[in-house]
């Protein structure tokens, strides 16, 4: 009888000590207009998951992820999040992309209060009195960790580049939705503050939101304004028609800068992209060993090099969760938050940690994540900042 009791006691103690498998719930737009970004995120998560589990998993068990398709749609996002919390019982949330969908999730996040590490949702709301942004709404929450730079940090990087470039005038084209319009307003104000005249500001219908990709009318206006620099804010699929029609019309600003969330697959080979510049968070030719290792591992798993920086951010995000939970030795929320707050993580973009931003307690990457690249002979060369440049900047005329 004593032996039986001892065995039962050992079993109970053993059960108590054995760690449960950790599951991370992920929201990402796998279908719909933002699917390119969501699928890139998924590819990054898959690579990180394979590496984490090959390295021993989390708390001695293989890490598990559940990816829900939020379609970048507010209603779908809320339903998917609540499913993760109620049916799957996850304690950690990752992923995230569209600001509109993130805003819809704010109340649900507050209701359940899991640890939320969020990639997208860059609309801070700072500097906009008519609109409460994500940093304003969630930034002070202990359980909220924001990975991607805020919108003002994106703009900060752009201003730094334009100032270094020393252009004489700028024409600004932007898609007419919630992505391009506020971005263009902020950019116009900032550029004019630098003393650079904005000679044209025009809205266009993006190919993502019902446009046909015929930008000749708008580009004719750019030709008439004759700026030093053309800066456009639009979506991935606008890049090629804008660049080719610019050349077709013979409109040739010295610098052309595009600011889409990503660039189409295969666009490097298009001759009309030569000399076009853009802002990006990660490129496989970044001169740090983690960037090269990530690019090679990604290629081995997915058959091609990563062409969307969201893959690298997703990869970094999942690794940060795994490292923090392992360091905490438990899934206890307070302990994991403490590790996320204090640890430094490795990533393809270099070392990073969560630090305070204007309002947020936990902001991951800042304006220094951004690089300016330029299409040169079919390759995206890093041309700014100088300490990470892989080639000198070339003027288009």
């Amino acid at each position: 009888m004593k032996k039986l009791l001892a065995v039962l006691l050992a079993a109970v103690v053993g059960l108590g000590l054995a760690q449960e498998q950790v599951t991370i719930g992920i929201l990402s737009p796998l279908t719909g207009g933002a699917a390119g970004t969501g699928l890139a995120q998924r590819a990054g998560f898959e690579l990180a998951l394979a590496e984490i589990n090959a390295a021993g998993g989390v708390l001695g068990q293989p890490l598990r992820i559940i990816i829900e398709d939020d379609r970048a749609d507010p209603a779908t996002s809320v339903a998917a999040f609540e499913k993760l919390m109620t049916e799957d019982g996850v304690e950690f949330i990752a992923g995230g992309f569209a600001s509109g969908a993130t805003l819809a999730l704010v109340e649900s996040f507050r209701t359940f209060q899991p640890i939320v590490s969020w990639i997208g949702g860059a609309s801070s709301g700072i500097g906009n009195d008519d609109f409460e942004g994500i940093e304003e709404l969630l930034g002070e929450e202990e359980w909220f960790f924001h990975v991607h730079p805020w919108d003002y940090q994106n703009v900060e990087a752009t201003f730094g580049f334009i100032e270094d470039l020393g252009v004489g005038s700028v024409a600004l084209l932007h898609e007419d939705g919630a992505f391009g319009t506020p971005g263009a307003a902020g950019l116009e104000a900032g550029v004019e503050q630098m003393g650079i005249p904005v000679v044209l500001r025009e809205a266009f219908t993006s190919t993502l939101t019902g446009g046909t990709g015929d930008f000749r009318a708008t580009l004719s206006k750019v030709g008439a304004a004759n700026p030093d620099m053309l800066y456009w804010i639009g979506y991935d699929s606008d890049a090629q028609p804008l660049s080719s029609q610019l050349k077709e019309l013979g409109v040739a600003p010295a610098y052309v800068f595009g600011a889409p969330p990503g660039w189409p697959t295969g666009i490097e080979a298009a001759p009309e992209m030569e000399c076009v510049m853009g802002l990006i968070g990660y490129l496989p030719n970044l001169p740090n060993p983690e960037a090269v290792a990530f690019a090679n591992a990604y290629r081995e798993m997915h058959g091609a090099y990563p062409d969307n920086y969201m893959a690298a951010l997703a990869y970094a995000q999942l690794w940060s969760y795994a490292d923090a939970i392992n360091a905490a030795g438990t899934t206890d929320q307070a302990a994991v938050i403490e590790k996320l707050q204090t640890m430094t993580f490795r990533s393809p973009m270099g070392d990073w940690s969560f630090k305070p931003s204007v309002i947020a307690k936990h902001q991951g990457f800042g304006s220094d994540m951004w690089l300016v690249f330029q299409f040169q002979n079919g390759v995206r060369e890093i041309v700014w900042p100088a300490d990470r440049a892989t080639a000198p900047l070339a003027a288009c005329r």
């Binding site: 699917a35 446009g211 077709e248 189409p264 697959t265 009309e272």
Partner: protein, 288 residues
Amino acid sequence: MDLTLLPQALVSGVLASGLYALVAVGLALAIGVIGIVNFAHGEFFMIGAFLAYQLFVSFGFDPLLSILFVAPVLFVIGAALYASTIRFVLKAPELNQMLLTFGIGIILQNLALMVWGGDPRSIGGVPYRAIGIQLGDVSVGLVPLGSFAISVLLVGGLYLMLARTPVGRAMRAVAQNRIGAGLVGLEVNRVYLVAFGLSALLAGIGGVMIAVIQSPTPTVGLAYTLKAFAIVVLAGLGNIRGIVTAAIVVALAESLVATLVPNGDALRNAVFFALILGTLVYRSWRKT
């Protein structure tokens, strides 16, 4: 308002009308001959674009050359869809027909998403894409000129086929009276199958052209389907002959507004919705 840009606006508008007419005439064929409003028309367009992309990536085919492959494939896809689904709802209420084509569209979009992913796909090395011929202050792009010429040939060819060939006459006959056409011995179902296949073929060729102009995604067909519906409404439902005029009106109106009005490009969709609204109001007013 900068009137020096007017000549460029007129040229760009006329050249854009070719592709608009090509996509719309396929839609009008399905509505006019079969009597079905095909909400999956844009997906035929999208498949054409992705096939051109794939042929370029896998075999290095120039997109213009790939028309020779894409056209018959799209005809077969259209005909197969007609034979396996559409023909069963021809006598069903219109709402059922619309729901079916809407569902087919969603399935095709998601199949494309599975095969090609959600990223825009660019046909990189097209040497003639950015070439423009300068005529004074006006630039005539080789791609819009080429797509206009191909569209004129195809739409003209379709008109000739409808007017001069036995198949075309059969299509006009079933369009006028399907029961009567059946009674005089025409195989109505076969005529419908050919018409639906042709409709898909025309959209598919339009898709090849768009693969040159922009970077296809699974939702690339949406914008052109909306234009096509606007043009079909302007021309009058089922009026295939009025399509060219309506396409020129829509494309020119868009180009003029986009060029001459500040932020005019963002008003392009408003322009064609206004044209639809104006046409419908005018028609109802004329009837009373």
